[in-house]
């Protein structure tokens, strides 16, 4: 874990309102595992005050990593104003990433919107491990919003796309794409792992489908954060009853959780 002030070595809008920021910080780039995140701050005054959490979306070159983010509020608006050559405050890598283990079996990655970010990193890592090419399913509101692993990270990986408005790929939610894949896996008796990131409602549906198909499922959750270090207890989500504790810290026990650890009936409490 490092607290540093790296230089922005590239920064571009990859879809309307969505940016890819490249930060040169070898220490973080080398240590980070897919699913981990960084806390960023690019404000000079005390307002906004808190750092914002963002998944690491992949390694870029030898010594840099990427952050793929959508402008939704004041913090991300300030980020978007930073220029190449500026330095920003970075803390990371933080949290627990996806468990890829030494185990074999097939991976299905399912992302919704900018939730593809940690999955890009995961795909990059799996691709780097030889014949672990995952299936990559990604859903967006429309064609304009599409973020593909090739465009963003130059990964040699074709994504299956779903759009809500039907302007590209399958018309409907990304979970429509997941069902046939799970069916195939179930048929082949493969050990299948679904890794997902996106809005809570999507994750809940992914978790349910995976469970039904007997696949294991890991989800990357979001919540408002203050410290990112497990110290403030601000970022909790409701744990599933069998966890034995009422709440899980997204920054410490997560952000990636086994789907069955989460109380889905009360997930998403953080965001209206």
């Amino acid at each position: 874990m490092f607290e540093c002030e790296p230089e922005i070595t590239a920064h571009r809008e990859v879809a309307p309102g969505t940016y890819l920021m490249t930060l040169r910080e070898a220490s973080i780039a080398k240590q980070a595992r897919p699913g981990q995140f960084v806390m960023l701050r690019a404000f000079s005054g005390m307002d906004p005050l808190l750092r914002r959490p963002f998944s690491i979306c992949g390694r870029i070159g030898e010594d840099a990593f990427g952050v793929l983010y959508r402008v939704v509020g004041r913090g991300t608006a300030v980020l978007a104003k930073q220029r190449t050559g500026d330095r920003i405050q970075v803390l990371g890598p933080l949290g627990n990433g996806f468990q890829t283990g030494p185990a074999s079996g097939s991976f299905i990655l399912a992302g919704g919107g900018v939730g593809v970010a940690p999955l890009f990193f995961l795909a990059q890592t799996l691709l780097g491990q030889g014949d672990r090419t995952p299936a990559f399913l990604a859903g967006f509101s429309g064609k304009q919003e599409v973020l593909s692993p090739g465009d963003v990270l130059q990964l040699d990986l074709e994504a299956e796309i779903a759009t809500e408005d039907g302007t590209l790929g399958h018309a409907g939610p990304v979970t429509d794409l997941l069902e046939p894949h799970l069916a195939v896996c179930a048929e082949q008796g493969n050990k299948t792992t679904v890794c997902a990131c996106g809005p809570p409602a999507m994750l809940e549906r992914v978790a349910a489908l995976a469970r039904a198909a007997g696949a294991s499922c890991q989800v990357s959750l979001e919540s408002a954060m203050a410290c990112g270090l497990g110290a403030c207890l601000g970022c909790t989500v409701h744990a599933a009853p069998q966890e034995g504790i009422p709440y899980l810290r997204v920054c410490r026990e997560g952000p990636v959780f086994p789907a069955e650890a989460v109380d889905w009936s009360r997930a998403g409490a953080g965001w209206s």
Binding site: D47, L49, M225, L229, A231, T236, A269
Partner: protein, 311 residues
């Protein structure tokens, strides 16, 4: 230590701190969370998350929301309880070469006493900080602070059951902070710390709901600093026991505001979220300030505020 380095040690009643900068309760976990970033023993002390007799789950999420130059929290004093604290957290704290303060909390006067009693004789705990001021729990909490009589009773009970220096932490949500301060002093407290958070609320206008599940939360961060400085000013004028300043401290200049006003040490909370190295930077800045002005001991700065009018 370089010969030229100013002496940063401060006395806070019976306590002798290696420097005047402590990590505030609830913002530094049990100390270990920040270890990957820096050695917590560099601090003057650490105040651990509020501890109650039994474990507490805390409030449902959302528990935090950012506000202008601050944040609201309604953690609800989530903590692992005395038993697990002693088993799981204390051993590491005992090896830590700095002052360890345990922030305690009870639902009733009696429970405060029980927590204090459970920590009696325990090595590696240098002082108790008694939180009579948390606004995020229904029972007790702030009620103990808004009623000076109750403040005094909690203080007496803790003092009876404890063998450690007792710091009582006051709430700013009162008409006159001198009242609980004086009551607690009279009850025998060794020191006071102030302020805890100011009760606030944020509305999510899209959802037309409170942003926090608990509806209200405690406001902390730079936004509240002027209120904290004012209250420290009022209290140091009124009491003789030492005061620790808390509230919105983010830079050495901020810490100096409190020390000059008369606080003998400071606690840093929310600023550590915006910058996890804030405490160390404050320490550096304090040394630098003293050095550049030829001040040998930071204690020489404490309470040097002049308030007579010049013009």
């Amino acid at each position: 230590m370089n010969e030229m380095d100013p002496d940063l040690t401060v006395r806070v009643g019976p306590l002798r701190l290696k420097n005047p900068v402590l990590a505030a309760s609830g913002t530094f976990g049990y100390g270990r969370e920040f270890e990957p970033l820096f050695d917590p023993a560099l601090l003057g002390g650490i105040v651990v998350k509020g501890l109650s007799l039994e474990p507490r789950a805390g409030n449902p999420p959302p528990r935090i929301v950012e506000t202008p130059c601050g944040m609201l929290n309604a953690i609800g004093l989530a903590n692992i309880g005395v038993k697990r604290f002693l088993e799981e957290k204390l051993p590491w704290l005992q090896r830590l070469d700095t002052t360890v303060v345990v922030n305690i909390y009870g639902h009733s006067v009696e429970e405060y006493g029980e927590v204090a009693g459970a920590l009696r004789g325990v090595e590696g705990i240098d002082a108790l900080e008694v939180n009579i001021s948390c606004p995020n729990v229904k029972q007790g909490g702030m009620a103990f602070c808004t009623d000076p009589m109750m403040s005094a009773r909690v203080t007496e009970t803790v003092l009876e059951r404890s063998d450690k220096p007792v710091i009582v932490k006051l709430s700013p949500n009162v008409t006159d902070i001198r009242e609980p301060a004086l009551a607690v002093e009279k009850a025998g407290a060794h020191a006071l710390s102030l302020i805890n958070t100011i009760t606030g609320m944020v509305v999510d206008v899209e959802a037309r709901r409170p942003a926090l599940a608990n509806v209200k939360g405690g406001l902390s961060g730079p936004a509240i600093r002027p209120v904290a400085v004012r209250m420290v000013y009022e209290v140091v004028e009124a009491v003789r026991i030492p005061v620790i300043g808390v509230g919105g401290i983010a830079t050495a200049k901020d810490a100096l505001e409190f020390l000059i006003t008369g606080a003998r040490a400071v606690e840093v909370g929310t600023a550590g979220f915006a910058d996890p190295l804030a405490t160390l930077k404050i320490l550096d800045g304090l040394s630098g300030f003293c050095r550049s002005r030829g001040i040998d001991r930071v204690e020489d700065l404490i309470g040097t505020l002049e308030t007579d009018r010049r013009f």
